[in-house]
């Protein structure tokens, strides 16, 4: 995923923009035509296209509408203002990162336990998997309500839901990774009579890093989703999830798309940060034997 040279990105971005505009015209046309018909005057195709690109509640807003909304929101208010989208992004990012941190700890700890203790593997792993098939949106409100009643509001319930979503890819990836060490190198540790912890720290962990980082990228994106999911039931509070909800509730498509774009940017930034960490921690091209 190197981005050497911006030409390919530019070409692709252009293609996407063209697609987006034509999609907007196509999807918005029926409603725009309705509106023009209602107005009663005769209209031409050009009128229709112009109308589709400037609707108040489009089915698909145009990129410039979204960009303008983002620009207004980001520059029109101070960063600490609830009308600034960056403020909401920060709220979500905080919950996502807290959840991600907890998820990494939980995920790695579970994986370590599963790899080290056979009791855990046979009895716990199936239930870890089952836990992920529980639809989070169904139990998120319960978690929010129950935690809210014992006095935890704000960040913590959201972080817990984010953690719930992101620990799983880490556990699965790490179990695989921790077991991927070459058997011969494991034998080597055995001849040194290295303790379990030492084998873990000096061999299993480093050998698992490629798997870990692949999982971390998925997990950090999942934690953003988790934070947003957690912001939905409590709709009235801050965060990108609240913006999505109210946008959706009041049919403000442009606002939904702005929130979505910010959420995507947040995810990509976090995934990119994990990628940077990976590059810093894993020395380049591991060649293997020659």
């Amino acid at each position: 995923m190197t981005t050497k040279g911006s030409l390919p990105v530019a070409v692709m971005a252009l293609a996407v923009l063209v697609l987006w505009y034509s999609g907007a015209v196509w999807l918005n046309a029926p409603m725009a035509a309705d509106a023009l018909n209602r107005a009663g005057q005769s209209w031409t195709a050009a009128d229709l296209i112009r109308a589709t690109l400037a609707m108040k509640r489009p089915i698909l807003p145009t990129p410039d509408q979204v960009a303008l909304d983002l620009y207004n929101s980001l520059t029109g208010h101070p960063v600490t203002s609830i009308r600034n989208l960056l403020y909401h992004t920060g709220v979500t990012a905080g919950a996502a990162l807290a959840g991600f941190g907890m998820g990494v700890v939980l995920g790695v700890a579970l994986a370590a336990g599963i790899v080290q203790a056979r009791t855990l593997e046979s009895s716990l792993l199936p239930w870890v998997i089952a836990s992920q098939t529980v639809p989070i949106l169904a139990i998120a409100p319960m978690i929010v309500v129950i935690l809210g009643n014992i006095g935890f509001t704000g960040l913590l319930p959201k972080a817990i839901i984010a953690m719930y979503l992101c620990f799983f890819p880490i556990t699965i990836g790490m179990v695989k990774g921790l077991r991927s060490a070459d058997p011969l190198t494991l034998d080597l540790m055995r001849t040194y009579s290295a303790g379990t912890a030492q084998t873990f720290r000096l061999l299993r962990l480093p050998a698992s890093l490629p798997y870990l980082f692949t999982s971390l990228k998925i997990a950090v994106a999942a934690s953003v989703v988790g934070a947003i999911v957690a912001e939905l039931p409590t709709g009235g509070q801050a965060g990108l999830g609240a913006r999505l909800l109210s946008g959706s509730y009041y049919g403000q498509t442009v606002q939904i798309w702005s929130a979505l774009v910010m959420a995507a940017l947040l995810s990509v930034t976090l995934v990119g940060a994990v990628g940077l960490a990976e590059r810093a921690l894993l020395p380049g091209g591991r060649g293997g034997a020659r």
Binding site: D187, R190, L202, G288
Partner: protein, 278 residues
Amino acid sequence: MPAAQPAPLTLGPPATQAAPRTIVDIRNLTLTYQAADHPVYALSDVSLSISKGDFISLIGPSGCGKTTLMRVVADLEQPTSGEVTVNGMTPEQARLKRAYGYVFQAPALYPWRSVERNVTLPLEIMGLPKAERQARAREQLELVGLAGFERKFPWQLSGGMQQRVSIARALAFNPDLLLMDEPFGALDEITRDHLNLQLTRLWLSTRKTCIFVTHSIAEAVFLSTRIVVMSPRPGRILDVIDCDLPRERRLDIRESPEFQRIAHRVREGLMEGHSYDD
């Protein structure tokens, strides 16, 4: 080459010239690998006893069970039947006491560690302070001719260099029982001769017990006190040859008739097992 290094862990009182103590005792060892298609009989009824300070070479056709035998001694493989004791303990207990230094047949280096940090790995596990770890690593890397490569990663080394790193790693550990599986297989003759000499010196000065696998008859005769010749699969012991050359050996000993005699006997033993009709 420095003299005896500090030995942080010993298996017993220092051995005396007079009373050879049995260190490794193998009795009626049999090992069968179970596989999906048909089992492989790797070792069959092997008995061998190795005294403190012995230098034993295992020699035998490819695939005969040499590696397997060493792995059993090092508690990396469980025998199907038979018994092994190491210094009176089970191999597992000996392993937990960190009695073994094992040079595997493949280098088994960690790709994410530099050469130096590969060598210091066992020292880290033993909990040595950093300065000493580095000193020992540098000393051993110097010994195997890799000074200057401390910062490289394994994949930046040639095959022979990787193998030398793995030798340095085992030596830095300074174990009581040194198990070496074809350590010099990928080295040129000159480097190999050099390391052979270094190894005898080390062995003479520290009185380590060594078990050594090699395919070179000359190397086996040069290094060993006893040579164990094995048969093709299922590995049995065909012959145990005492190598009563003087303990202090120089390279030119290889021209002596006594050396040639022993080498010849080893070759005879080896041929016995083979069935090529070239």
